[in-house]
């Protein structure tokens, strides 16, 4: 197991390297630069600025310098926020982004697993059709639509929930959490239903019923453990997706997370910031997928034996 984890950790290096190089080339190929401004600076000034940020060097030298510094934990100064480093800016927003992701995943698991459970116990009935139809809707509506719609209903029409910030006003965490978590709740509901239906048809469940165990005990103790494996497997990509996808929600609700930097950096052509956030999100995606693989293989020995972790 340890060997497998180490092997996976080694794959981080080429993946991150490719991400840095591709991102570097793409941002330099994009028209417009970090120092383009409505009030045009003289060529002399632009030259000095390029010098100050090492942009006067050939691109391969820039990539080499960047990688050399990044390995030592120095992701460079932000172009947009002079006097601040990329690391510092990311660290200022990361706790909020992680908190948002945690609330959203809890919301998604909670709503998704319960709905999936209810649906799986009532196959073909109203309690199956209604939650599953709603979940399909949840998967289809992107957060960029759902967020403003929730703001309109709860924030503007009924004025019951705040539409701005994170942790500043009572209830301001509700709408962002729902907006970010809904799509995943819907996926979890469908995964739970599928997993449970498969398990509920197994021989050992029939045996448990024959032994006269209560239905609740059968479902909670025996069936759920196996039925929830698809959810666990999806948890890693889900958390990674939540973190990376948080930029939409952070922008809609003006939350001071790291996702907003991701968006702003792209618009500002803040090269070092784009690279820093890209590396962060790549690293987190790889890590959460790895963690969820480890957890899933513990829950299901067949995965471990068949080398599912690989």
């Amino acid at each position: 197991m340890i060997q497998l984890i180490l092997k996976r950790l080694f794959t981080y290096i080429p993946v991150l390297l490719v991400v840095v190089i591709i991102t570097f080339l793409m941002i330099h190929a994009a028209p417009g630069g970090p120092f383009d401004a409505e009030r045009v600076a003289s060529p002399e000034i632009i030259e000095k600025l390029n010098e100050a940020y090492n942009l006067d060097k050939p691109i391969h030298v820039q990539i080499y310098n960047y990688l050399f510094n990044a390995i030592q934990g120095d992701f460079g100064p932000s172009f947009k926020y002079p006097g601040r480093t990329v690391t510092e800016l990311i660290m200022s927003g990361l706790p909020t982004t992680i908190e948002l992701a945690i609330y959203s995943i809890l919301f998604a698991i909670f709503l998704g697993v319960i709905s999936g459970l209810v649906a799986s116990l009532n196959p073909g009935k109203t309690l199956d059709i209604v939650p599953m139809s709603i979940s399909l809707l949840g998967i289809c509506i992107p957060s960029i639509i759902l967020g403003p719609a929730l703001v309109l209903i709860f924030g503007i029409w009924y004025e019951v929930l705040p539409v701005y910030g994170w942790g500043d006003n009572p209830g301001d965490k509700i709408l962002p959490t729902i907006t970010l978590g809904t799509a995943y709740a819907a996926i979890f509901a469908r995964l739970t239903r599928g997993g449970m239906l498969e398990i509920l048809g197994q021989d050992y469940i029939r045996t448990a019923r024959a032994k006269g165990l209560s239905e609740i005990r059968i479902v909670i103790v025996h069936a759920l453990r196996g039925g929830i494996i698809p959810v666990i497997s999806f948890l890693g990509p889900a958390i990674a997706g939540l973190l990376a996808g948080s930029f939409v929600v952070e922008t809609i609700f003006q939350i001071n997370g790291v996702g907003r930097f991701y968006v702003q950096a792209a618009f500002n052509r803040d090269y070092t910031m784009i690279l820093g956030t890209s590396i962060l999100f790549t690293f987190m995606t790889l890590t959460f997928v790895l963690i969820s693989d480890i957890v899933a293989s513990f829950l299901n020995p067949t995965l471990r034996d068949s080398g599912g972790l690989e």
Partner: protein, 530 residues
């Protein structure tokens, strides 16, 4: 379902206090202003930053030689309590207020200004607003690296006074001094945290910042808020009734509007266009609308065919119904432009005209000999619903009155700037806000080869008139020359002015002494809260 309710209650519990009183009420009682401030400021170093949100913050933290007078767009004493101007209008001598202090208790000295101006003019710093100081003798040469010795620049200290020598008599020099690029920094602090010309200087951090403004920096949480509180050492505290200010960065105008209506901020710095009429009807006392020193215009690439033909450009302008644009699209009380420089009834009011005359337009269009079957021209604008609506209306007008086809291209801000600067456009939307209340801030832009000209247009007579105007001390004579230059501009139309900007925003009735002025600037020490 019960679990869901409990989960929501948990989130509510995690979300801070549960006080029911509106934040504006609560903070007004404490004398604290809550300001919606647009985008997150890129910094608070007056020699590096360039934006409006940064200006609003610096207005609290630093003070220049003079302070902008919000009542008449003039100036009142700041760090300098008095000043003398030589007869030829070229030498200014500033006498410092002995009570003007830095937040560490030290006095603000003339030497600090010399250091600060050397800093912004040092080419290594890469300051984008350094040209504000080009009116000072040899400042431009020093900034461009043509002279290395700063003592040759027209700023020096004599008997504890700051003596400034200008290139030409510049009657609006005092107005320039209200711009933050001319404000001082504390030399020892700047040196301690990175040195004079370092862009990565850490002197602006909360724990390091030393300012001389009416407020001192308390905290700065990125993308959340920047808080300042009353500076007890400020010389003008007798007037200052504000105890603190919280600048909240909100770049989404709908969110800002919602926050204002729920009592979260005293000022929302924009209003969504679609809500202006509703505010006018329902909450007129909170809606502020006033003229702004800015022009919205179309920039023409005069290096390209057929836009190099003045008749073609005139035809384009004559077929635009500006009244319709202002009344039906903008709806914000904007004024139709008849000149490039926004007019001021009390001072500069150029007698130029930009009429809507489709018949004349058609004639000139024919004269230009342009074949409408040519490849269509392109109108470039940065992505924004407002710009799009105007572009669509103008596209329709040109089609209707001239039979001319144009295509509309919207691109992201940086692409738009890059294409404009490189001259890769036919016609592009543009806007310009004056930096100080003098027509020169507009007219100078169109001088041959100025970085912000971007049209390729050049007129020797225009350049000469502006050059002559610079040496005139009398405002009347200067304005006469400006008007002459303005006529050339409107006759040749390298830019097609459309309308004069209006500032439209929401202001709580609790804020008193607010002055509506064309630079939209209100030093906070003149305000009060009820």
């Amino acid at each position: 379902m019960h679990w869901l309710i409990i989960f929501f209650l948990f989130l509510v519990g995690c979300s801070g206090n549960t006080d029911q009183k509106s934040k504006v009420d609560l903070y007004s009682e404490q004398g604290i202003l809550l300001l919606g401030n647009g985008t997150e400021p890129s910094g608070i170093d007056p020699h590096i930053v360039t934006g409006v949100p940064e200006h609003k913050i610096l207005l609290a933290l630093l003070e220049g030689l003079v302070i902008f007078n919000p009542e008449n767009n003039g100036v009142v004493p700041g760090v300098a309590s008095k000043w003398m101007i030589s007869e030829d209008g070229v030498t200014y001598t500033f006498i410092f207020n002995p009570e003007a202090k830095w937040t560490n208790g030290e006095s603000v000295k003339p030497e600090h200004f010399v250091y600060s101006w050397e800093r912004i003019l040092s080419p290594e710093l890469g300051a984008q607003y350094a040209d504000m100081l080009y009116v000072i003798k040899n400042a431009e040469s020093f900034h461009k690296g043509q002279i290395k010795d700063f003592s040759k620049v027209g700023v020096s200290v004599f008997e504890n006074k700051l003596v400034v020598t200008l290139e030409n008599p510049t009657p609006y020099f005092l107005n320039i001094l209200t711009h933050y690029s001319t404000w001082p920094v504390h030399p020892e602090t700047v040196e301690k945290f990175g040195g004079m010309t370092s862009r990565n200087n850490k002197w602006t951090r909360v724990n390091n910042f030393i300012g001389n403004g009416p407020f001192k920096l308390d905290s700065w949480e990125i993308n959340k808020s920047l808080k300042v509180s009353r500076n007890d050492l400020y010389w003008g505290n007798d007037l200052n009734k504000i105890n603190g200010i919280e600048f909240i960065p909100i770049d989404n105008e709908l969110t800002q509007d919602r926050l204002f209506r729920s009592g979260g901020i005293h000022l929302a710095n924009t209003v969504p266009t679609e809500k202006i009429i509703r505010y006018r009807e329902e909450r007129p006392k909170e809606l502020v609308e006033h003229n702004y020193f800015g022009t919205y215009y179309y920039r023409i690439n005069t290096n390209k065919f057929p836009l190099n033909d003045v008749n073609f450009r005139k035809a384009l302008s004559l077929s635009i119904d500006r009244d319709l644009i202002v009344k039906s699209i903008l709806k914000g009380n904007q004024k139709v432009s008849y000149s490039f420089t926004p007019p001021d009834e009390n001072s500069y009011n150029p007698n130029t005209k930009l009429e809507f005359n489709p018949v004349k337009a058609k004639l000139l269009f024919k004269e230009s000999g342009y074949d409408i079957n040519n490849q269509p021209l392109e109108v470039l604008y940065n992505t924004s619903e407002g710009h799009q609506k105007i572009a669509q209306a103008i596209q329709e007008m040109w089609k209707k009155h001239l039979g001319l086809n144009v295509i509309l291209t919207n691109v992201d801000w940086k692409v738009y700037l890059a294409r404009e600067t490189q001259g890769e456009f036919d016609i592009s939307r543009a806007g310009w806000i004056g930096d100080y209340p003098d027509p020169f801030t507009f007219l100078d832009m169109m001088v041959t080869d100025r970085g912000n000209n971007k049209t390729g247009w050049s007129n020797a007579k225009y350049d000469e008139i502006l050059n002559n105007a610079a040496s005139k001390i009398s405002a009347k004579k200067r304005y006469e020359l400006y008007e002459e230059a303005e006529k050339i501009l409107i006759d040749e139309l390298p830019v097609i002015p459309l309308y004069t900007y209006t500032r439209t925003y929401l202001l709580s009735e609790r804020v008193k002494n607010w002055q509506n002025n064309i630079l939209d600037t209100n030093p906070y020490q003149f305000l009060s809260l009820e």
